[in-house]
Structures are given as C-alpha cells and as structure tokens.
Symmetry: C2
Subunit: 243 residues, 2 copies
Amino acid sequence: MAVTDDAIARLREMIQRGELVPGARLPPEAELAEGLGLSRNSLREAIRALALVHILDVRQGSGTYVASLRAEELLDSLAFALEMYRDHDSALEVLQVRRILEPEATAMTSTRMTPPVLHRLRTLCSSIRPDDPVPDLVRHELDFHHEIARTAGNAYLGSLLAALHSPTVDASLWRRLAQDGKTGETLDEHRLIVDALAAGKAELARYHARTHLTHIEQALRGSAEDEAGPDARGEGQRHGRPA
Amino acid sequence: MAVTDDAIARLREMIQRGELVPGARLPPEAELAEGLGLSRNSLREAIRALALVHILDVRQGSGTYVASLRAEELLDSLAFALEMYRDHDSALEVLQVRRILEPEATAMTSTRMTPPVLHRLRTLCSSIRPDDPVPDLVRHELDFHHEIARTAGNAYLGSLLAALHSPTVDASLWRRLAQDGKTGETLDEHRLIVDALAAGKAELARYHARTHLTHIEQALRGSAEDEAGPDARGEGQRHGRPA
C-alpha cells in the first residue's frame, strides 16, 4: 500500500504546484506512470482514491480530469463519510454544530428570499402532517433545511449543512418526536421560520431557527437516554423539557 | 472503474448494516473477494479508497480494520480535500463559515478554561511579534485558533474548525496584513480574546472573536481585490475599512 500512498502524494503535489489545474485532463495512464516512476496498478489505485474524495473526476471513455476543486464539491466526501458514523456522541456534537450554523444560515436566507423559494417552502410545510410516517417526516425535514441552506448564498455553508444531515440520525430523531407526540410542534416551528423569512425579519428567523434546533437537540438527547437508561449518560448539559 | 465502485458500495453496505463494526478486522482478502464475488484487484482498490477517507484502516502486516468512524476522524478527509482548493470565492465562503463558528467556539471555551490552557494561550501571544516573518505569524495563527477550538468541548467542532484553516489561505491573509501594517492590530485582537477567556466572560470573548474574524475577512477581501483589480468583484457584501 505504501507505493499507492506515494502515488497519491505525487498526484497531490502536481495539483498543489499547479502543474495540473482544475479541469485539466491527466496524461495517458502509461505515460503518467512512467513519468512518476510508478506501476500502472499503483497509479490506478491512487486515481480511484482521489476520485472518491472528488479531487479527480474519472469519465468513462473520456479520461481522467482534475475536478473543479470547489470547496462545496469536495464536501461531498464529508457527506459520504458522515453517513457512516453511528456514534451517538458524534451525532450530538454534529447537531451542536448545526445549532450554531443554521440560525445564521436562516438569517442570511431572509435577505435573499424570492417568490419561488417562498412557494417551495410553503408547499413543503403544507404537504406534511404530524401523523405522516417517519420516512416522510425525515424527507420533509431534509428538503426544508436544504432549501433554506442553499438560499443563504454561501455554497460552502449550504454543502456543509447538507453534509451535517444524516438520514440515520434524522430518522431516530423523528421517531422520538413521534413517540413524544411532538411532531406537530416541530412542524409548527418550521412554519414560524417560513413566516419570519416571508416577512424579511432576519432576527426573528434566527430566533425561531435557534429554538427549533434546541428542541431537536433535546429530542436527540432524549432518545439517547432511552436507549442507554436514565443514568448511563452523565456528561454534557441537560435541558429540561416542559411536560 | 465500475467494478471498484461496486466493491466500495458493497463494503459500505456491510458497515452500514452493522456486519462490520468499528474496530472489526476484515476477513482475509481472498475470502472477502470470493464472498462478494469480486476480483482481488477491485477489492484492493476499494479498500485503498475507503482508507483514504478514514473508513477503513490498513495496518501494515496486521490486516485491514474498520476505522473508529468517529466524526472528527472522518473530518480528516475534509481537511485533506480542502487543503487543495485554490478558488478565492471558496476561500471567502469558508472564512464566512469560520466567522459563524469561531465566536461560538470561543464562547464555549470561556466556560472550560484551565490554567494550562490559559498558560499556553498567553505563551503563544507573548512569543510572537508584529514584524516576525509571515510563516511564523501563520504558525501562531493556527496554534492560537486550534488551542481555543479544541478546548471548546466539542471534538467535532474542533476538527471542523481545524479543517477550515488552510495554510495557503492563511499565508495570503498574513501577507496582506503585513503589507497593510495591520499585523500588530490583529495580534492585539488575539490578546483581547485571551483576556476575555481568562476573565470567564463568554459574551466578551464572543464579541472579540467576531470582531477579529470580521477584520480577517476584510483583509482576505482586500487581497482578492488587489489580485483582481478594484472592479473585478461586484457580487457579495463590501465592508468599508477605516483608513
């Protein structure tokens, strides 16, 4: 494997030194392997690995190109990786980051609302009901936050927020909300956010987004306590939830 | 390459379904390849790719294991990718995300200060001077923000903030600050943050961190305008900089 590590390092250097620029086509495999003093097998493994993290772009029948290297595309590799984590502490930490970022993204969005965006948000809110099945609620949740994040006007922030959503974590969250009879409240919070956005009130939108994320975090903590027993998790902040 | 894509998908499924758990050792290559109906070459390429994004861990002479899959380790793959971007809009977008996250991380840190952390921060601030060479200023910048981020008590947030620092972007930033004669001001801002942390004043620490990041963003915008000419960048928000 050390040979492939070397091949990866050599290709990265070529990109970092600007010998290979975004969009450039790599030389033919045989030529590149010879130029770098590598076996074709090692080179092929290195290309595969760099394609997985969106640094190279392998186009069937056309060749291998340097990808755009735009931050938001590189973030896809993060989404890929985060999808796989199953550690509950990580899930809470990730949610805490969402709780910092989403209120700001929502406030940024309030200044960039257009009739089509508002229409899509209203449609999302009116086409979901508190007793819909959990997969539908999760789909709504993802679409709702994605619409807001990509309107915020920072592609990197949008991609990062998308990457922070995990379908697995969201499913456990909405199961918990359903079990507590709180899906209605949570969907109402979405509507409050949309109303603030529609009115162009950045501070109010930020406030409702923060409240929403705090409730979501409480639900995720609650489902962790259910799984682990009430005394199993002593660390971290506890939030009281009004009965 | 399609065969390797398939191999990657099969390994991901095994992890997502819990057939392979974090820390588990993969079956011998020949056995796994046969079980999945794959060639050993495809399997090897898939393993290499998944190792690059920290999902598998290849230990020379011992075998291949499923990695811890903790979010902060997976984030290393993001740092790896971000190091390569060279697009200036992306750099500004990333900095905007830092401007959202770092004031919160700083406020979180203020409640978790210990004498050793305070000592390290004070030492960092007293061992750097405004006219030190740019590489030293960049090293100070990275160490300073890293110390605060990792004290904030959220490993994921700490890793994310570390990944958002790009040595290339930081170097262009500090060159600009040096050129404008503003390195002294910027280092003073670090001291104000430390003083607020030492006093346990979360709001004040957040305020100074936000001011600091806003100045950093202005410097990065300034260096972009220098490169592109004053009228080359019409989009986005402009910040006035006092003369």
